[in-house]
Subunit: 132 residues, 4 copies
């Protein structure tokens, strides 16, 4: 499992008083940084590889400004060219949101999908959902 | 159907060159403004009612900065206290993203769900998916 | 003067009840789209030119979700390689925020500044502050 | 000095390849969390006090996705009801952005400014610019 601690921001709340729902995909994407780095080792400069196909989010409990959250990310499926992640956000030991996202390994210059390389598969397989 | 035109922003692109995927839920939420207004007539001041339960997004085609997008929102189901919307984003006549979201009519002060009032049902029913 | 109408978003409010202050630079940047287009004609694909040097924002009046805002942008100074804009945000005929930003015409590939071309100067000069 | 480490996000980059300029005020605001907490002890629930009057940002060096940044915040001036902060963002030991912001201690319910209490002044004075 990959884990990232995030401090919610005042700008991420909304006038209903909690973290706005559109912030959750931003935190989930941030939780995938270590996965992105496998495909794009220099995140700031190398050609980008991972293209998102879909994602869904289930809201379980309100999230608040002022307490850190933990984003947890597992690998759920590794296909030939694609990858599914399962992810959760916890605040004060409460599960507040969960979701899944599917990516494809895509060469933006060549505009075609590529098989996920074996060395990356090996690392990803250490983070499978079963290993919770 | 509810329809909203949005001009993508430079700040909504990412270093892969297109609109970042986390922006799509923001545009979809903005497309629901007219629905929110039914439950919270003064969007800037009245007590907020609609609480999101889940949403999913499917990415069909890359979205670009520099051309307006149209967000289209239909009502898919009206339950006793809940509401499901179906939504699409188009750019230059191409369907680029589609999704669904489920809301519940929730009184945040009383912390309990409320039946969707009949007058709101009547208006929502004019925007059902079948009426595409 | 360049003018853009923006509909504030629920996700742009914060738990104090108004539009969060960090949204204002986003709206101001969006108001500069027509200027960016002069330097980068295909905003979605051409090499990006304008690099921001500084900006400041003064908050004059609270901004609310639920009513459109107008972003107004004037050219304040045209230097050899740089450009200063003056900008305002109005909601319901009230001036709510004003600011300035300085950009330089910069070739990111060559990593050097470039003189602002004469044809662009001509267009920019039609939008000078004096022409309010 | 208050200090906060932030991991830049893919969604915070733009198509020019770096962190978008509108993200910097978001990081600076996040760097002020400890100051907000002095005025609003329960950041998630208590009545909000601090209202921003103005801010400016100077961009010194490009910021990149993939490396953590440090936000440093000093108190520059303490007035009767107002407060000025000076702030910097560093990435890999390079100063990348600096700025100032002015807040006023404002009761949103009563709609009036309030003197900054003595116990808060005492704490703030430990973080003055001179103490770099």
């Amino acid at each position: 499992m990959f884990e990232k601690v995030i401090e919610p921001r005042m700008s991420e709340t909304d006038r209903a008083g909690h973290i706005n729902n559109t912030v959750i995909p931003v935190w989930f994407e941030s939780g995938r940084d270590e996965i992105f780095k496998l495909f794009t080792p220099d995140l700031g400069a190398d050609a980008w590889k991972m293209v998102i196909i879909n994602f869904h989010v289930h809201f379980v409990h309100q999230l608040f400004y002022g307490k850190p959250v933990i984003v947890k990310t597992w690998i759920k499926e590794i296909g030939n060219t694609s990858l599914k992640v399962y992810e959760e956000i916890h605040q004060e030991s409460t599960l507040c949101a969960k979701g899944e996202a599917v990516y494809v390994n895509f060469d933006l210059n060549e505009q075609k999908t590529e098989r996920i390389p074996d060395d990356i598969r090996k690392i990803l397989s250490l983070h499978m959902v079963g290993n919770k």
